[in-house]
Symmetry: C2
Subunit: 246 residues, 2 copies
DNA sequence: CAGTGGTCTAGACCACCCC
DNA sequence: GGGTGGTCTAGACCACTGA
């Protein structure tokens, strides 16, 4: 482990953050895959030539960012969307009353297209690059609640198709992870109120013109790379979007 | 400092968390007021009879919860809503394009009433207790964007009136803090899409029936005590609600 | 029981701020 | 220069897990 000269460096970063960057590389390179246990703190300390406390602080930050999950007595694990605990991390819609509901995702269509200006800008692609578009309906207790239009670059998800979507029983992000090796770690949502058009209204079984939430989401993988754009139309008759402000 | 017997205690909590609770009491009791510097880490370590590292970990958690603010070389300070840095902590509405906008809050009405069932439930009051209701219009660059209906228990904000609201140039939460000693530390927002009624539509200068965001917020002070309920109608023509999903 | 993460300590030194 | 928070270390011990 090479220590940097700190006092003269204009871009000083503490040792634990350098360790964190090294560990991020291991995650990004797939040395530690989703669900895997990473080496123990003492092993990592040995490998990087620092004290256990320094490794610990690096892991602390990564756990706070939901990249790693610590389990006392067992070890530290790479977070995965397969874990039911992280299932609702990206879906903030909850029923107005009552507890957990049975959720079901019904794929409607899936086709290829060329990236228009908007998608290209959001996903950092060149205009005209192939993208894959998915429409799907999400239901709670058999009532349609969310209509999603999902845009992803085709090169990252080469064989994504309606058949594959229908054959999968996992969440979409679980499938991205296990089938395409793309892990979503962060997202931004922009929310507006809009009136339902004919097509959306029919699918969500609400009158045309009804107010809907429009939730536009950009999801990012390692290195802050945007890889999915999504427009979700939420019917908020019996559900609402819940947000905690710290 | 009395250390607890750890291994036999069914409600084990580590030392740093006990220190944190003691410090929370100091905050709640007003020993350290908003904006004040709290004692240095070494002083606190001495006072509580623990090592500096343990105090540090307690402060770490409180800083992560936005209760304290660390400033290297200067000290650790009690967070305050007067600080411009924490101004947008609770307002997630941002313009679709362009940067900062001039914001202006215009109080419309302010009156007393008795708590109905809904307000009483949300604020943990008895039905019939006196509450104060405020309506106000928030504008960005002189365009009305948010119409708020705000419900607070009158006993906590005894002399709240239209005159006081009009005379104040601070944010509402700054005023709660400096005038009534009530500090908001956390909030929950529930978001739905609704159609504008006549009154809201006129004030927000949109057609009647236009889709609006309805943002219902419960804000909490120390000890997770709810002290404000708020229904905000957001016009999302030129703005949107921004949410980061970690 | 051994191995993991979690807590706590004491001490050294660095970076930052202000007098 | 003296005070503050920030980093790093080495070592001890505790709590939890699973064989």
């Amino acid at each position: 482990m090479t220590r940097q000269v700190t006092s003269l460096s204009p871009t000083f970063s503490p040792l634990y953050r350098q360790i964190k960057e090294l560990m991020m590389s291991s995650l990004e390179a797939g040395e530690w895959g989703p669900g895997d246990a990473i080496p123990s703190e003492s092993e990592l300390a040995l490998r990087f030539g620092v004290s256990q406390g320094t490794v610990r602080k690096a892991i602390d930050e990564m756990a706070a960012e939901n990249l790693l999950v610590r389990r006392q007595g067992k070890g530290t694990f790479v977070a995965t969307h397969n874990d039911p605990r992280s299932f609702f991390r990206f879906l903030r819609l909850v029923p107005n009353e009552g507890g957990l509901q049975q959720s079901h995702s019904e794929p409607i269509e899936c086709w290829r297209a060329k990236a228009g200006q908007d998608v290209a800008r959001v996903l950092g692609l060149e205009v005209g690059k192939p993208i894959t578009i998915v429409r799907r309906l999400l239901s709670f207790d058999a009532e349609p609640v969310v209509l999603d239009e999902i845009y992803v670059p085709s090169d990252l998800f080469p064989d994504l198709s309606l058949e594959i979507l229908k054959g999968s029983d996992q969440s979409l992000y679980s499938m991205y992870e296990s089938r395409y090796g793309v892990r979503m770690i962060r997202a931004e949502e922009r929310i507006r109120a809009v009136a339902a058009d004919k097509s959306n209204a029919d699918l969500l079984r609400v009158p045309e013109g009804s107010p809907l939430l429009l939730v536009e989401r950009v999801a990012f993988t390692y290195g802050n790379k945007p890889v999915e754009w999504r427009r979700g139309f939420y019917s908020t008759q019996k559900h609402h979007y819940l947000n905690e402000l710290g």
